[in-house]
């Protein structure tokens, strides 16, 4: 069965649990070998010189600088925020990052530390990372973040419910979270490592988009495998198909396991060639990362200075 190609068909799809299941199961399958081959092939693009510099700066501007540890303190979050504002103090022309990403009880600290900037404060929510709790608790988690001033909310879907086939339940939950977000942007974390198949990633992507997510996000970063190129590829295809069907632009965020500039550039190539150049902007693509930023800064210096740099030259956060 072909993918739906009109907004009417999509409205029909979400009418009830049965329709939703039929729609999601009717999406074309994803051939694992084929998608992995294409992702690998795109990974051989040679991005050099001006193209590389442009990519590095773009990638920096797309970073959601993240700390999600049990040991996070207000001090840690303030240090992160300082880094977000000024990633490389010796190179003031370095772009700032897109946002910082923290746990909900740290959101207020982040908001305060970033006052006066355009850098977003993203907070995880809905019993991140497992998503294993009641609807009531999850929504309270969202409200905690939003009331603290978070401008973005990164929720997790209920993977258990998804794997049980209770798509309507998952859909309703995303809807409810979206409502609780108010003005804040919603990113829907699929936790692709737990969904296991590309077919499921495609279905979950569509589910997240149908339910109103502004972004679909690969992972919590707490489970391995986290983001991979092929998975991101499938999600980029989904937002592209969504755009073709509805005219709406939605975003994609790979998170976890992206550590080097080389990796980041491969992701940007995928964005460019799978979704399209309209997606090469922080409002439609983000990197959920922590150590990636320093590698981007080092590579930026290397491109500008003409020699290899070293870790002592960029600040730890």
């Amino acid at each position: 069965m072909a993918t739906a190609s009109s907004p009417d068909a999509l409205a029909d799809a979400t009418r009830d649990e049965t329709s939703l299941r039929r729609f999601l199961h009717g999406l074309p399958g994803v051939d694992q070998v084929g998608v992995e081959a294409r992702a690998a092939s795109l990974g051989t693009r040679s991005i050099k010189k001006s193209a590389k510099l442009q990519a590095i700066d773009t990638a920096i501007s797309m970073v959601d600088l993240t700390t999600l540890e049990g040991a996070d303190t207000r001090g840690k979050v303030r240090a992160l925020a300082a880094k977000a504002r000024r990633p490389d103090p010796d190179r003031p022309d370095t772009p700032p990052v897109a946002a910082v990403c923290v746990y909900p009880d740290m959101a207020a600290t982040a908001v305060e530390a970033l006052r006066g900037t355009d850098i977003g404060v993203a907070s995880v929510a809905t019993a991140f990372p497992s998503g294993r709790s009641s609807r009531e608790v999850k929504l309270a988690d969202v409200r905690l973040a939003v009331e603290a001033g978070a401008t973005e909310v990164d929720m997790v879907i209920d993977r258990g419910a998804f794997l049980e086939g209770r798509y309507g339940f998952v859909f309703d939950e995303i809807r409810a979270v979206k409502e609780a977000c108010g003005e804040a942007h919603l990113k829907v974390i699929l936790e692709t490592g737990e969904l296991a198949t590309y077919d499921n990633v495609r279905r979950a992507s569509w589910l997240g988009l149908l339910a109103g997510g502004d972004f679909i996000k690969t992972s919590t970063g707490k489970v391995s495998p986290a983001a991979t190129l092929p998975v991101t590829h499938v999600m980029l295809q989904a937002v592209r198909d969504w755009y073709t069907a509805t005219g709406q632009l939605r975003g994609v965020k790979p998170a976890g396991g992206i550590r080097t500039t080389k990796d980041a550039i491969k992701y940007l190539v995928a964005v460019h060639e799978v979704a399209g150049e309209e997606w090469l902007t922080p409002s439609l693509f983000r990197f959920g990362a922590s150590s990636l930023l320093n590698d981007l800064l080092l590579q930026r210096r290397t491109q500008h200075d003409g020699h290899y740099s070293g870790p002592d030259y960029v600040a730890v956060d």
């Binding site: 993918t3 074309p28 070998v33 084929g34 991005i47 050099k48 001006s50 773009t58």
Partner: protein, 477 residues
């Protein structure tokens, strides 16, 4: 970021170690050829690359005699285990010199460096590696306890995969104990002559491999030479028929790998995005200069619109240009002659009523280039559905049912390959049974491996290359 242009990323031309002149390789040495020298040009720039000495009829005779002597006195008596080690050496040397060979191949042929680097050269090395291991195991190949080689093999190869086609020919021939005289294509002789150098580096005994550059007349001389026991030809169906005609009634063994007009069949339950990839790969890989290219897209009518939309979107991301640029997807057409053929046939398609859509890419000012093109609304009776275009042009037809797909796919005197796209396993196997093609690719396309036999039905030729089956071509069985 508004527009992200990939900066030029050229591979260094110097790596090809281009010489001003190349010469035939006969009886272990590079010798002056008696034929008129030809100039090999770079089809992407139309610039001359090098002068290449060609063989005369008497050079061919000397080469055949050298091959015979080597067969009788050195290679024939040599135990398989020792022959194997020469072939392993050659495989390793190809791997060692892979970058040089890839750049040279791109300069001479016009194909993107990405393809020569990632596909042609590694697969060529793999063919030698694989066949090396058969040299001392022929009693296990299913041809009896002690199958014997044929003797001297004359081999004629085309310009579309110069080094790879050389590997497909020479590796099994040598592994089974034959010696060879090989004529590379007129427009792409260079990698074959560097291969001859590799034979020297491997200390391959003189006369086991001989390379005689030249045009069609030299191929004809080789075919008709009474001193060859076997002819292996890859090229056009027209020339293949001539060769078969010339050898009719003689004792010379023959295998042919000719043209095709493969159907790439997409069902409504195909993994759509990967099917699009497979279609693109099937017809635009190597600029469509592939005998087994998926040049006919047979799409189930119910999804035709949607598929074509995705196909056009995907084609718009194809990068056409300097083959030496690592980001180039579509390189140059191999010659002015071939470009003219492609243009003529494509125009005929439009004239016959097909709708033409061409990818919006800029063509370089010089060089032989043709933008990827889709002709939709094609019917079985049009020339573009029947004749091999051998270029980046896809003809699109529709079908309603599996039976109709089979009928249309088989409605051709060719039978080299076929592609099938459906997630239903039983349908794949049912279709595979019914496709009259020597190679069936299900949910993939253009997959080659030395262990997997390759070859066609009907006018796509006879004989197989690769695998246990491929050894037969060079054994007296």
């Amino acid at each position: 970021m508004s527009v992200w242009e990939y900066a030029p990323a050229p591979e260094s031309r110097d790596l090809a170690n281009l010489q001003p002149a190349y010469r035939p390789f006969i009886d272990g040495a590079f010798v002056d050829g008696g034929g008129d020298p030809l100039t090999s040009i770079n089809p992407a720039t139309e610039e001359p690359l090098a002068e290449v000495g060609t063989a005369s009829a008497s050079d061919v005779d000397i080469a055949v005699r050298a091959a015979r002597a080597a067969f009788d006195t050195v290679w024939g008596p040599m135990p398989g285990a020792e022959r194997a080690k020469y072939l392993f050496r050659i495989a390793r040397l190809i791997q060692e010199r892979s970058r040089e060979l890839a750049v040279l191949e791109t300069l001479d042929n016009g194909k993107p460096i990405k393809e020569s680097r990632d596909s042609d050269v590694p697969t060529a090395a793999a063919h030698f590696f694989y066949h090396a291991g058969w040299a001392d195991k022929l009693d296990y190949a299913g041809y009896g306890p002690d199958p014997k080689p044929l003797g001297v093999a004359g081999q004629i190869i085309p310009w579309n995969f110069p080094l790879l086609m050389l590997a497909w020919k020479i590796a099994p021939a040598l592994a089974t104990g034959n010696t060879v005289v090989l004529k590379p294509a007129e427009t792409t002789p260079l990698s074959a002559l560097v291969f001859a150098e590799i034979c020297q580096q491997a200390e391959l005994p003189a006369g086991v491999v001989n390379i005689v550059p030249g045009a069609g007349d030299i191929g004809s001389t080789l075919v008709r030479h009474p001193g060859v026991d076997k002819i292996a030809f890859t090229g056009s169906t027209a020339v293949g028929k001539e060769i078969q005609h010339a050898l009719a009634g003689t004792a010379t063994r023959l295998t042919l790998e000719l043209g095709g007009k493969a159907a790439n069949v997409v069902f409504d339950d195909a993994p759509l995005d990967q099917a699009v990839e497979g279609i693109v790969n099937g017809i635009f890989f190597n600029q469509g200069h592939v005998c087994c290219a998926g040049s006919r897209l047979l799409v189930q009518e119910s999804i035709a619109e949607e598929l074509l939309g995705k196909l056009r979107a995907r084609m718009s991301t194809l990068r056409l240009g300097d083959p030496l640029d690592k980001n180039t997807d579509i390189g140059a057409i191999n010659s002015a002659e071939q470009l003219a053929k492609i243009r003529e046939l494509t125009a005929s398609g439009e004239a016959d009523g097909a709708e033409r859509w061409t990818s919006p890419c800029e063509l370089p000012e010089r060089g032989f280039f043709f933008a990827p093109t889709v002709l939709s609304g094609v019917e079985q009776s049009m020339r573009v559905a029947r004749e091999e275009i051998f270029g980046p042009v896809l003809s699109v037809l529709t079908f309603r049912t599996p039976d109709e797909a089979v009928t249309k796919a088989n409605n051709t005197p060719y039978g080299l390959s076929a592609g099938l796209w459906t997630e239903k396993g039983s349908r794949i196997l049912w279709l595979a049974d019914r496709m009259r093609a020597g190679v069936v690719w299900a949910n993939t396309f253009n997959r080659f491996d030395p262990a997997a036999p390759f070859g066609g039905y009907q006018e796509s030729g006879f004989g197989r290359e690769g695998g246990r089956t491929g050894l037969e071509a060079y054994l007296d069985v």
